[in-house]
Amino acid sequence: MSIFRKAGFVGVALLASVGTANAAGELNLYNWGNYTNPDLIKKFEKEFDVKVTVTDYDSNSTALAKVKAGGHGFDMVVPSANYVKIFISEGLVEKSRPDQMANFKHVAPEWNNPSWDPGRMYSVPWQWGTVGMVVDTEVYNGDINTSSLVFDPPPELQGKINMAPEMNDVLALAILYHGGELCTTDKTVLKKVRDTLVAAKVHWLSMDYGLVEKMPRGDFAAASYWNGAGFRARLAKPSINFGYPKEGYLLWMDSLMVLKDAKNMENAKLFQNFVMHPENAGLISSFARYANGITGSEAYMPADMATAREIIIPDEFKAAGHFLPACSKEANDIYTAIWTELTK
């Protein structure tokens, strides 16, 4: 029986070690994996004497499914723009009124009234970024600010292209490439989109994640991908650059919201206000390496970020950025059909 007794002791010791610390309050944040700076959490815990627990998810849909089921125990969630809209319309989030919080004045003007949360009554900016062209200029030294690099590739890049396997992003880029409206159901545009994608796929090497590991060692020379990854790839190989397609590129933003059934409502609101402070927003960006939408936070980021072309959109390209709206079911059905044909 001594084995059992010993095992019992180990069990008790483990239980004690994973139990909650005795802070005055608690806060349960449900966020993307590897997305929350531990220093940010420690700072908040110290300032407000609140024990913060971060739990990870790996996709918007997982987060939505768990929150919708109920009984999850989370206080806050950080969905992408199109999902922010769903969380609001499903009545899953609290109208916490960030627009009336003390630090709201730090939110950059272009982010304080987004289409998915007019007036910012629910959500606070966490991080934002773009989907554009990551190109190794050692292989191709022409104009990189065009999505023709992946949709009608020049000979140097043929067979050396990677696409992030994100249906909505790829289709939206192709629609913009043909001058269409996002979420369009116009068959003539979509016919062109389909033909372009099918013809282009012959020149694609892969549709995969992991650009930061693969591109610096030369697995491929061009990609449609997220800017933060492009930035990290450049740090590993200086000839890698990031292009903003003039035909149109995509913007995304993840926003922090308070859940309606939050147990620690007041702490959650405190946290929303907390991350709008430039110093704290700077901490978020220093860790996950994307911009955050808070004016003045650049001062608290590593020097290599504040000047990075991937992170700070040059003025001449600002107008070509588009947010992905939540499309109609009809549009989604057509896009899924095209995507299925493309990926089979």
Partner: protein, 272 residues
């Protein structure tokens, strides 16, 4: 007849054409990625596939990463509790299905016990999400208990199969002899059945432990706030940049699994 016989004589299990090469290919495919994963856990650089020299820094990084340590401890505790519960239940079930005279529904009970082996994990995951969510809302209790319960449930068949196999292989006359000598049923169980069954029980518990330790899908659906296990923590890293820290954690997890599986073999070989 002779032709057939001649042909049969030639046939030998040890020397089938292509057997060696197929087996080698299987071993390479199975183990090469794991070996590469282990090698890169000692990488000095921050990319998982560009070798930049030997270093232990990612093991140190993982050791200093509170989230990793927290998730590891939780995973071990969860696996220990799940193995304990599922083994007790599986032992009772195994005795109940082998040490009784056959009764109606015995086969269906057997199938029911093994149900987690047949039903896809994702189905169990979604089903548990829905049921537990309702219970959590109704009771307001979100503790670790749900994860333990879920893990114990799908670990039962893994513990059940070796215990049942052991029971079926055991000499029933010993138990009959004990009963003949006026031992009570409890005494027979305590002094005869249990000591003989012990290797089977240990084997079942270790299998259950490893199965629980590795589980991703069901955990992802059942976990509540602050209930990250090591596998779900690793899943969360995938979309973002993966560093050799993940290799280091995987290597340690691999070592734990290997250790438990080796123990399983030592225990089962010694006594049979």
């Amino acid at each position: 007849m002779t032709a057939l016989f001649g042909k049969r004589k030639k046939f030998s299990l040890r020397h089938q054409p292509g057997f060696t090469s197929i087996a080698m290919a299987c071993f390479v495919l199975l183990y090469a990625p794991i070996i590469i994963l282990v090698i890169y856990s000692f990488n000095e650089g921050r990319y998982i596939a560009v070798w930049e020299g030997f270093s232990l820094q990612w093991y140190i990084a993982a050791w200093n990463n509170e989230a990793v340590i927290d998730a590891t401890l939780r995973s071990l505790l969860l696996a220990f509790l799940a193995a304990l519960i599922s083994t007790v239940v599986a032992t009772m079930a195994a005795i109940g299905t082998t040490r009784t005279s056959p009764y109606r529904g015995l086969t269906s009970i057997h199938t029911l016990i093994n149900q987690p082996l047949i039903v896809p994990e994702i189905v169990t995951g979604v089903a548990l999400l829905i049921v537990f969510a309702a219970v959590k809302v109704a009771t307001g209790f979100q503790g670790f208990f749900y994860l333990v319960l879920a893990h114990a449930a799908f670990c039962i068949p893994f513990a059940y199969l070796p215990i049942r196999a052991r029971l079926e292989g055991m000499d029933k006359t010993l138990e009959t002899a004990a009963a003949d000598l006026y031992a009570s049923r409890w005494m027979t169980f305590r002094r005869i059945t249990l000591p003989l069954l012990w290797p089977g029980i240990l084997a079942g518990a270790m299998l259950a432990f490893v199965i629980s330790l590795d589980n991703v899908v069901i955990t992802e659906f059942v976990k509540s706030a602050g209930q990250e296990t090591l596998p779900t923590y690793m899943l969360g890293q995938l979309r973002r940049v993966i560093t050799p820290e993940i290799n280091a954690i995987s290597t340690v997890l691999l070592l734990i699994s290997l250790l438990v599986v080796s123990l399983y073999f030592i225990v089962t070989r010694k006594r049979t």
